[in-house]
């Protein structure tokens, strides 16, 4: 009843209003559309305005240099002669395959990455598991494991250089106590890269440990309780509850460590200057030296382009594999 009467009333109201305002009604919709358009435009403008600082910085410090490097990779740009740049086609790229130093740097970098990525992943997970237990002094351990991450990599590298010193370094003094003769950690071509790997894992693992820790605390407790009821051992619980629960986080960490490992630069630069006999020279360090010390920006750019391709390929492969696993 009520509904009927009200709708009737509305009808009459409409009738009442329609007649006199017919011309104005036609005018109203276009006005509204215009307002909407300009509003949308303004909103977009505001959006771009807020984006601008990020976009400008990205453009000036990332996209432009990338484009410039691509362009210079086809030239003979020598830093002392910036006004005398000529186009030399693929000459720089073809020299890469003859450059023994590039080859050595490439395999050094691959070796570093192949060892560091799984080791650092495992160490980070191990530390996270330890800290997740309700131990005494838990906060102390957490801080201790995380503190190397807060320190500058340059400072850490200098400290470890002292610790690795064969004659006066801490590590060799300790080895001396248990009767092992001093090791040439950074001065032997066979040991230098491994020494840098140990130091890098120590420095970097704390950060991934914190991410793993967050992941561990996100695994719902009822899963463990259910496993307990089923009579699972703690190893079985780790294998079938903890690991699957951490899968996504582990993949994220895997990708970030891989990319970071490929960009190895600071440690060899500070600790060994790429030596002994080039055994710790990384790709990025070789590019840096070529461009800045030997002033051969053209060739350095070509190597940078190739380096980008390599990292891009690795990242794409990892992404594809991850998608498959998710599916």
């Amino acid at each position: 009843m009520k509904g009927n009467s009200s709708s009737a009333k509305q009808l009459t109201d409409q009738d009442h209003y329609e007649a006199p305002s017919e011309p104005s009604i036609k005018k109203v919709p276009p006005k509204r559309k215009k307002r909407r358009k300009s509003q949308a435009f303004q909103e977009a403008l505001t959006g771009y305005f807020f984006l601008a600082p990020a976009l400008i910085l990205l453009g000036v410090f990332l996209l432009y240099p990338m484009g410039a490097a691509f362009y210079y990779s086809f030239t003979d740009f020598y830093i002392l002669k910036p006004d005398d740049i000529s186009f030399i086609g693929f000459e720089n790229f073809s020299y890469i395959w003859q450059d023994a130093q590039f080859r050595q740097a490439f395999w050094n970098t691959v070796y570093f990455s192949v060892i560091v990525v799984p080791v650092q992943l495992a160490v980070a997970l191990g530390l996270a598991l330890l800290i997740n237990k309700k131990l005494k002094f838990r906060v102390f351990f957490r801080t201790a494991f995380f503190s190397p991450v807060v320190m500058s990599l340059v400072v850490v590298s200098i400290l470890w250089t002292f610790m690795y010193n064969p004659n006066e370094g801490l590590i060799n003094q300790l080895l001396g106590v248990i009767g092992i003769s001093p090791q040439p950690f950074l001065t032997s071509p066979d040991q230098a890269m491994n020494s840098i790997i140990v130091m890098s894992v120590w420095q970097g693992a704390g950060f991934q440990m914190m991410i793993f820790l967050a992941g561990l605390q996100n695994i719902p407790n009822h899963l463990y309780e259910a496993a307990d009821i089923d009579g699972a051992t703690s190893w079985q619980k780790f294998l079938h509850v903890t690991l699957p629960g951490l899968k996504n986080i582990a993949l994220f960490i895997f990708i970030t460590i891989s990319i970071a490992a490929f960009k190895l630069l600071v440690q060899p630069m500070i600790m060994t200057q790429g030596g002994p006999l080039g055994s710790t020279k990384s790709l990025v360090y070789h590019i840096y030296e070529t461009g800045f010390n030997y002033r051969d920006v053209g060739y350095a750019s070509a190597m940078a382009v190739v380096f980008t391709m390599i990292v891009l390929t690795i990242t794409i492969i990892q992404r594809v594999l991850i998608r498959e696993e998710r599916g």
Binding site: L159, F162, E168, V177
Partner: protein, 450 residues
């Protein structure tokens, strides 16, 4: 218990080193930035001149001047010299900019950046052996037209040699440098070894080898070559005279060819001598920072700064000339000044260079840095160079100093030699390493073929 103490001492040592190194680095950063500010404010002080100049239309020359900073005392000495120059010259005004030189690439990075951007100063400090590459690229200009023979002859020969490329003079320096064979007097006396007290008595390679072996014991090395400085300019600076002394070379006289020079039998023999020193165990490839000062090495082939640190450490030390094979030669070269092609008034720029390197300036800088002066007369004025042991450094700088090669490919050449030297120290096959490096330098040299 003893072992535990040992361990604790080790931990303490590392902590102390950490504290020291971080302290010193923050200190130097702090002081450098503050002195940098001082530098600019010092020169801006006389800025009132600018306005009056524009008003009168009188054309004053403004010179931008880059100086490098490695130590505070040194920089202060430069600033005082520049202030004095500004007071003395009414028509020239110098704006100095202090740029950090960390011994690695910080200073050359600044030059590279300014070069590409096209805003190099009028006058800048450049490292001696890099003069040729700047000259070849036309970054700096010859100054022969603005300097007379008499002024030129006042400098020690090696400074002129270092500043000359293609028979034209490009740079003048206030400092020389050298490498001396330092020795621990007590240890030599103990072993009954007679040191060389003049250039005539300089040790030969054989004597150095024999005596180093004699001085090497269970807990001490006979010789220190400061391999802890890393594989860089030091190895070329300190090591190249071994090749020259043996009649070898790093590159052809005209600086265009390394094949047949860097891999000549004489150079290879010199590197093999280095290899033998290491193989005999008289020298280590990783000495501690203060190995010589702490008495853990009896001899040391080090720069003038070792005299300062040995004195500070209270060591009973002396110096001998650089050891030789056939010809007596010794390391040379240091920072110098050059006029860039950016300048509008090269004459005023050279005036500034002469001022910064005249006798008074070179004595002032020598006192601040401990480096030998670059003017012959300064050696007479400074009394310390007329008595032992400094008289030996004077003889060496004036008589046997040999500049590093003048070639535009120097940055690659010096790395090639340093890598070869280091490979020899590690006991690698010298010939094959040198051969690889020769190919590298030859490729770089092609860039400069015309």
């Amino acid at each position: 218990m003893k072992k535990l103490l040992y361990l604790l001492a080790g931990v303490l040592l590392v902590l102390m080193m950490a504290a020291c190194s971080s302290d010193s680095s923050t200190n130097s950063e702090g002081s450098s930035s503050s002195s940098g500010e001082n530098a600019t404010s010092d020169t801006v002080e006389t800025g009132s001149v600018d306005t009056s100049v524009e008003a009168t239309g009188d054309e004053d020359v403004m010179l931008d001047f880059w100086i490098h900073q490695t130590g505070e005392d040194e920089t202060n000495a430069y600033i005082e010299l520049i202030d004095a120059f500004n007071k003395e010259h009414d028509d020239i005004h110098v704006n100095a900019e202090v740029i950090i030189d960390d011994g690695a690439s910080a200073y050359s990075d600044s030059i590279n950046a300014a070069l590409v951007a096209g805003n190099l100063p009028d006058v800048m400090a450049v490292d001696g052996p890099y003069v040729s590459s700047f000259a070849e690229a036309g970054v700096i200009q010859p100054i022969d037209n603005y300097i007379d023979e008499e002024t030129k002859s006042q400098y020690v020969d090696s400074i002129i040699q270092q500043g000359t490329y293609n028979d034209q003079l490009y740079s003048l320096g206030a400092m020389e440098a050298s490498v001396m064979l330092y020795y621990n007097k007590d240890l030599l006396e103990e072993a009954g070894i007679e040191p060389a007290n003049s250039l005539e008595e300089a040790w030969t390679w054989d004597e150095l080898m024999k005596n180093s072996k004699k001085l090497t014991t269970e807990d001490r090395y006979g010789l220190n070559l400061f391999m802890n400085y890393g594989v860089g300019e030091w190895l070329t600076f300190m090591g190249a005279p071994l090749a020259w002394s043996n009649g070898g070379a790093l590159i052809s006289e005209d600086g265009t060819k390394v094949d047949g020079y860097l891999n000549s039998p004489e150079t290879i023999e010199a590197l093999n001598y280095v290899k033998d020193l290491f193989a005999e165990g008289v020298v280590t490839d990783s000495p501690g920072e203060m190995q010589f000062e702490e008495g853990n090495a009896a001899l040391a082939l080090g720069g003038p700064w070792i005299a300062v640190s040995a004195e500070d450490a209270g060591l009973n030390w002396g110096m001998m000339p650089y050891p030789y094979k056939d010809e007596k030669v010794s390391p040379s070269g240091s920072m110098a000044y050059a006029v860039t092609n950016n300048t509008e008034d090269p004459e005023a720029a050279v005036e500034l260079m002469k001022w910064m390197t005249n006798e008074e300036a070179t004595i002032k800088i020598s006192k601040a840095t401990g480096m030998p002066p670059a003017q012959k007369s300064a050696f007479e004025t400074m009394e310390k160079f007329n008595e032992l042991p400094w008289s030996i450094m004077k003889e060496q700088v004036i008589q046997t100093a040999h500049a590093r090669p003048a070639t535009p490919a120097y940055p690659v050449l010096t790395d090639a030699f340093a890598q070869s030297f280091h490979a020899a120290a590690l006991g690698e096959d010298v010939e094959s390493v040198v051969e690889q490096q020769v190919q590298r330098v030859e490729r770089e040299l092609k860039r400069f073929e015309e």
